[in-house]
Symmetry: C2
Subunit: 134 residues, 2 copies
């Protein structure tokens, strides 16, 4: 797999989110994917994930990736990403952790979508990561 | 899988590391596992991982886990852990990210071992995470 190929998949998913095309977005996730909605709350499977994303992004938020690091072990990968979310004049920066898996059809899909990264370990840090940065 | 089962696997690996039993430790990793040694440097596969761990821990370091969060998606899991490393009077605290995979024999093994967590995205943060905390 060429370097940064997973980054391009995440950027493709970002474009679908930003366009509100949540049906197409669901092909970016495995059937058993888990998304952290907020600390203590998660969505499992495409139906729940679609609903959670639609609720978050229906208000015109725009998501993009800044720095991205991929660590690939065979058909499993950890992706670390600096994720930027814009809403009007405000911008939030997250250090996200995604796990991707290459499935039987050869496609890489997201199995774990955790925008909170390691801040889930520390509620105080979670609050800071939600702070407005500019 | 019962809650905290992956935590118990990581604690088992910690005991093997602390005892210097690196041969037994290698069964905790998938054959294609990747371990981040330091930002920009990684080990791939059991031979390289064994060598890297032996070099780090031969000086009597003791590793343990504090807070642990598991996010399990089918046979793939992201584990976030506050990892404590002690050497003499000094203690370092890391926010680590591990990816575990359940293999054909039913055993969960570590496919990505990244003690640096999302600090890999930000070299300045990496330096802080190495700071002595007590």
């Amino acid at each position: 797999m060429p370097p940064a190929a997973l980054r391009s998949l995440i950027e493709h998913a970002d474009r679908l989110i930003n366009a509100g095309d949540f049906d197409a977005l669901m092909d970016c996730y495995t059937d058993d994917a888990v998304m952290i909605i907020r600390p203590g709350s998660s969505a499992t499977g495409k139906v729940q994930i679609r609903q959670a994303i639609a609720e978050h992004f229906e208000q015109g938020l725009q998501v993009s990736q800044q720095a991205v690091q991929e660590i690939i072990a065979g058909d499993t990968a950890l992706v670390l990403a600096e994720t930027r979310i814009r809403s009007g004049e405000s911008t939030w920066l997250w250090h996200a952790t995604y796990v991707y898996r290459r499935e039987a059809d050869g496609q890489w899909r997201c199995a774990v979508d955790n925008s909170y990264g390691t801040s889930l370990l520390d509620p105080a840090q979670t609050a800071r990561s939600e702070g407005e940065i500019r």
